[in-house]
Symmetry: C2
Amino acid sequence: MTEPRLIYLPLGGAGEIGMNMYVYGYGESGRERLIVVDAGVTFSDDSSTPGVELITADFSWLIQRRRQVEAIFVTHGHLDHVGALEFVCDELQVPIYLRSLTAEIAISNIRRSDDFTHFFRIADPYPSVCAAGPFSVSFLPVAHSIPEAAGLVIETPVGKIIHSGDFRLDVSPVIGEAFDEELWREASDGEVLALACDSTNALNRAAGLSESVVGPNLQQLFKRCSGTVFATTFASNIARLYQISAAAGQCGRKIVLLGRAMTTLVEAAASANFLDRLPNEISLADARQLPRNSLVVIATGSQGEERAAMARLASGRKFKGLAARAGDTVLYSSRTIPGNETRVAATLNAFSRLGVETIVDPKDRYHVSGHPNQPDLSQMHRLVEPELVIPLHGEHIHLAGHAKLAEENGFEALVASNGEIVDVLAGTILRGESIAPRRCYLDGRIFSSSGKFLKTRLGMARNGVVFVVVRMDKRGRNLQDVTVSQAGLPLDDSESFNRQLASDCLDVVGTERLRRASRSNAYSKRILGFTRDYCRENIGKVPIIRVVTIRG
Amino acid sequence: MTEPRLIYLPLGGAGEIGMNMYVYGYGESGRERLIVVDAGVTFSDDSSTPGVELITADFSWLIQRRRQVEAIFVTHGHLDHVGALEFVCDELQVPIYLRSLTAEIAISNIRRSDDFTHFFRIADPYPSVCAAGPFSVSFLPVAHSIPEAAGLVIETPVGKIIHSGDFRLDVSPVIGEAFDEELWREASDGEVLALACDSTNALNRAAGLSESVVGPNLQQLFKRCSGTVFATTFASNIARLYQISAAAGQCGRKIVLLGRAMTTLVEAAASANFLDRLPNEISLADARQLPRNSLVVIATGSQGEERAAMARLASGRKFKGLAARAGDTVLYSSRTIPGNETRVAATLNAFSRLGVETIVDPKDRYHVSGHPNQPDLSQMHRLVEPELVIPLHGEHIHLAGHAKLAEENGFEALVASNGEIVDVLAGTILRGESIAPRRCYLDGRIFSSSGKFLKTRLGMARNGVVFVVVRMDKRGRNLQDVTVSQAGLPLDDSESFNRQLASDCLDVVGTERLRRASRSNAYSKRILGFTRDYCRENIGKVPIIRVVTIRG
């Protein structure tokens, strides 16, 4: 019998912002009992993952070990932590520990699955403990840009791990629990083997700000606006919604929510007993009757989403009876997630063309980040005093920057990327056991992939696609005729291109005598090569080519 | 005979950053004599313009009036001002006025055309004048992030226009001409009808910085680096290349240029007599022999370009005999152009995984912008004292922000977007004459387009493509058989999908009796509809579908 060990394996989130999924295991090598922390998604974009609905970490490793998995723990309700829960639960069928608001959001977000809420176990905060095999886990409340966020205190037979979750050291977060240094100190008491810690802002040297700094600035802004204000932020940022609503009221305005996610999240907050309702909120029907300068519309679409309320309004047309006009103001009380810059800019420019004033946050005036900057991370390192800092949640530059900072603070640090298994007690990566990081894609169905299918899609988008239909005689010996069709090619006259390529195929390849056993295959290969050369010569690029052979 | 008028028409650049092309005209309505200012490109991206090599403003309006065009003036050598010159010149065949370095860059950048340098007229700076029909144009030197940038003083029969070009109010630009306030004051003397002025940084409230602030910071950085430094910036930023080289020398390092654009631009600068060579430059062969800590590599690829030197180095493999290793430092002495964030991040993360320290400019330490911020624009407004400020070069939010600033400064301002014709004396947009803005795409050939072909490409990328081959009998009456092929669909087993769809088509549509005159067409439409429904039901999305009918 081998010595039991304590392992950590990031499946997603250690190499990107989003798509969080981490595994801890304790036991004999290969027989560890496992817990999963978070099951998040990331979003697709047309430049790398066109047509994909959602992306999650590849959890095949867990599926192969499903009998070893004890439970899933979810730190908070952001979709990059909770959005893949239904898919993971569908495979693992284990208890899911989470807090009330997180549960409400998980339910509202179900896309494919039947109801799986019978797996839910609503967790009370620290010092309450959830038992999962050899692990005892507590939800340690922390401030973040969503209420009921929590770090996890993971007690194991060999010592304690603190998993920070996403957090901000905010002592006045407006809505939700403040960061309670004493509570964190108490929970970190004794030996902490490792602090697995948020890294998204690890390259930012300024101290993080409190949510509460935003309110007075919003009030000041609303005072000087003459028309309707259209404000957008993440719907899950309940404190921000509250502050926008309160500032509106202080300026004699009412607020109305626009977009499904807004109403869903406010309802979820109400179900979780966080918020009865937003102050100064009125119905859409009432909002339509109000003078333009008496209204703040809180709308979905801070990331430039094509179908969200902000993009609809930016078109200049009415959306649910409301419209943006010259003299109105648009406020992005949000950060643009990397990759969304172009479409956010498109929305802003569309508003600008309508004569609407557009305000995007100039440095922490109308938006503050929910994540810890360098001084905040340093404070956390010193508070927890771990034997090892394991940076998580971030691109590699963030993880590396966090590790460097921890080392400067006098702590050992270890960067483990997605798929790398860490022996926590030894503080080393188990290279031999590490797995190649893949992703799961939701596109019709959910499937694990190296992403090769995306190369085909991007290849078609860049170079077009040509289909060549080759009709052989009944015995498959002689080529009878060729028909060409295509899409996405830069052609002036596509009909004549189709005809010319087909006739050249027939003239050149059709008259060749191919001596292969299977002439049909041989012709097909020759047609492929001929088409490739023809396209390179005539349109300067090589499309995706499919040759279809039929007989008769 | 109608009164002659003075018009301004932005074809590109007034609605985006990049793709600059502006027209001025003087004469009777519809018979104006025209000059073109700049002929620039913008670059494609996979999320909106996959497969396109280059994008320019649509210059059909000029082609239709080619006999009215007197000349083209190019303000400076950046590709968003000079990159489309060959295509425009090919159609217009008129003299091109430009300064030496701009000419060298234009020549080095020819992609498709034969040599068109016989159209070049090398312009001397102000007060030298180039005559073009009713216009007399002077090149007024100004500082920018490339040497030999110039504003244009455009004298017309009814008064003067100042066209700023891209500029920075830099009195110590290290290489190239400093901003000479007295010279600009002199050139603006008397009545200025309009100041058509750079807007890219019009939302930035800080004062612009001089190129010279970067040098000492670079020196400080290089001193603390232990391995090789890989620095990247725009190759045309000759002053930056010079400062990196000088700072390297001050730290006992040599520099080597890596990537074609770097050597091309330094050669162009030498041909234009700007720079003999960079200080401390050595050959690649010598660089390979040098200790790692004695070298600064200046490499192409600051925008994350896949094939540029930085991306090659980030792979960890040798490129031209040089490789990045743990302990080296990567410096982006540049700004990431919006839209390129994701691929720049990918390169940075790849370097980070190699153990290389990555430094991206934290706020004007290792990079300064070449464009005017708000205080600089205000200074320019007051210096030129125009009757009208026409913001150009920028997205709509930048143009609108610039107009607002001009009005706050007490000047009239008019936002004209691409395709909108301005009557300069009246200070109004001639709505009835304005044209719908389109773009020209270089993709094999260059063509003007509304962009519909891009929808097909993105549609294929998102939803895949299905080709259905329908074989009718010889008389086109009865459906004989159906063959399916596809690409880009999210299929587990594509063979069985193809077979099933084909057989269902045959079973359902093949047995229907269609009573149309042309049965072949009717079958084709039914197959299209059937395939659409089949895909929606079975894979949850509707691909691009092409039905090919053959007979026999």
